[in-house]
Amino acid sequence: MDTVFEGQILFRQYLTAQNEVSTELPEWARSADWLTTCYRNMVLARTMDNKAIALQRTGQLGTYASLLGSEAIDVPVGLLMQKEDVLIPYYRNHAIQMLRGTPIEEILLYWGGDERGNASPGMGEDFPNAVPIATQAMHACGVASAFRIRGESRVALTLCGDGATSKGDFLEALNVAGAWQLPVVFVVNNNQWAISVPRNLQSGAPTLAQKAIGAGIRGEQVDGNDVIAMREALQLALDRARDGKGPTLIEAISYRLSDHTTADDATRYRDNDELKAAWELEPIKRLRTYLHSNGWWDETQETLWQEEVNCMVQSAVDAYLDTPPQPIESIFDHLYAELPESLREQRDWAMVKAMKGGSHHES
């Protein structure tokens, strides 16, 4: 029997949780610059995240999906994408949105149940959060197709979770990306859980990266707690896509250190020892240790930066809490470019009902 296909998946890691260098470091990782920027933003991301959870717990935010444990995936994505690239995120990528220009108060606005949180001019052409799982993977292919049709050197980057890799949308998207050699990068944040469903129940495949093989595209597995590995993998994938060399699937191995969302209670289904073990691998401590050991970061800087970050987040929270709700007619005014005649009556009713004395008046 002839072998008609052979494939393999490699695992990329430079810095272990024990602060050991497991693969020779790339040149750029031997200087402070990018890594401290990365670190600062990871701390900012986590601070924002903590604050959002606190807001939710006090009834000032809706159900919120924490990014805890994704910092080493999302911050490098946010730093490495070009402005003209397009982000097609899932619902856990607030750090990327922030780095690409969405003010924190607008991110909070979204999680506060207000569509204006998707309207920030800072978002440029980026997609809003995708709530229906994996649908964004196809939109990314549509965006990438538009780039190809117009002959633009831009990249569409999309993210999803490990659970999302089971959904047809993700798989159809990988397939068309391969068939059309689209300038798209798929990043799977394999945080080991899809709400209560563990990774091994999602798929019999030993790696999720090998789903790339089924679609005939490049795939690799990366330590998603190691920003050096993430930068290397992402830069390669982005460059290849931009240069017309086709799509890449990156499976970033991480761990969901939080509950699924604030509406979830992971202790119902998840072993506490597993969680503890995962905390040993977490990305911020790992990077901080590396920065410290190179003398690129110290306790004073840490304290100052944490203070600065607290201020930034607090003023964003204030701005968020000060934002008055949209007028009710907004639900009509963005439905179509122009209000259809047939909706005018409903819009009028809605406004009357919202007025003082109306059935839907909220004081």
Binding site: G62, V131, I133, S196, I328, I331, A354
Partner: protein
């Protein structure tokens, strides 16, 4: 025989447990229905009790959930599949519409599809986008399906038993806003409710209020408050949205001469459209006023900060009733 005071979501759980105990062919599948017991706890304890062969956490794929259920049902199992929120049912539509609804007809009854697709639906719990829609109409339009919506713990229990026992596919939609809104004594007696009849929850002579699901709460409250004004409303819980028992509705309207239909879904082609159209067609001479619909707007369900504006409330219902009564 237990006779507990329970919530609607507990009643769902009770019915599932009852039927799984009685009938080995009843199996559950869906996202997070196993160890987690469902994000609303509707299936809590069932994996522990009946094992993971009969309570299956599926990969994250709704088309798959629909397709697996069809395959299992064709084999004589009675799968009860959960879609985590109705807003995520769309990938399963092809299996529901092209297969579940047609397997019996397609094979002239050689095969059949005794499955239930459960999904929590509706607004009012301040949930994220896509977690609050009411699109029962999309299923009700499809011949070969049954669409059932309970509005109380007892009806949830009895109707879910009926849905599982029914030899054809049933879309069972659970109004999550009232999952825990009230408790009711429910006897775990295994008695199913009929799937072909509306429930008249309150008798009245001036006007017929027609509703279902979570809005039954506001509808009953409105009727109560209107009674204090001396207005006597009959309240019908449609419950079996499709096939639709128009006889009960028409008889009531023949008696009262007036009706107001209340639903949370958008107005345009909501189930209220069919009810109003049939009343006009078959009961025109009974009508002393136009059949009025009190519904959600023909807009996307707003994010939760504005969602209360979208949903009809008792003031809206009472206004519509008064206006209808004033019509001459």
């Amino acid at each position: 025989m237990s006779h507990e005071t329970i919530t609607m979501v507990e009643a769902v759980n009770l019915a599932l447990a009852h039927e799984m105990e009685k009938d080995d062919s009843v199996v559950l599948l869906g996202e997070d229905v196993g160890t987690n017991g469902g994000v609303f706890r509707a299936t809590v304890g069932l994996k522990e009790r009946f094992g993971n062969r009969r309570v299956m956490d599926t990969p994250l794929a709704e088309a798959l959930i629909g397709g697996l259920a069809v395959g299992m049902a064709a084999q004589g199992l009675k799968p009860v599949a959960e879609i985590q929120f109705m807003g995520f049912v769309f990938p399963a539509m092809e299996h529901v519409i092209c297969h579940a609804a047609r397997l019996r007809n397609r094979t002239r009854s050689r095969l059949s599809c005794p499955m239930v697709l459960r999904a929590p639906f509706g607004g009012g719990i301040h949930a994220p986008e896509h977690h609050s829609e009411s699109t029962e109409s999309l299923f009700a339009h499809i011949p070969g399906l049954r669409v059932v919506i309970p509005s109380s713990p007892a009806r949830a229990y009895g109707l879910l038993l009926a849905a599982i026992r029914n030899p054809d596919p049933v879309i069972f939609l659970e109004p999550k806003r009232i999952y825990r809104a009230s408790k009711q004594p429910v006897e775990d007696n295994g008695v199913a409710l009929p799937l072909d009849t509306c429930f008249t929850l309150r008798e009245g002579s001036d006007l017929t209020l027609i509703s279902w699901g979570a809005m039954i709460k506001e509808t009953l409250e409105s009727a109560e408050e209107l009674a204090e004004e001396g207005i006597s409303c009959e309240v019908i819980d449609v419950a079996t949205i499709s096939p639709l028992d128009m006889d009960t509705i028409l008889a009531s309207v023949a008696k009262t001469g007036r009706c107001v239909i209340v639903h949370e879904a958008s107005r345009n082609l909501g189930v209220g459209a069919e009810i109003a159209a049939t009343i006009a067609e078959k009961g025109l001479l009974d009508l002393q006023a136009p059949p009025v619909r009190v519904t959600g707007y023909d807009t996307v369900m707003p994010y939760f900060r504005l969602e209360n504006h979208f949903m009809p409330n008792t003031a809206d219902i009472k206004d519509a009733v008064r206006q209808t009564l004033e019509f001459v």
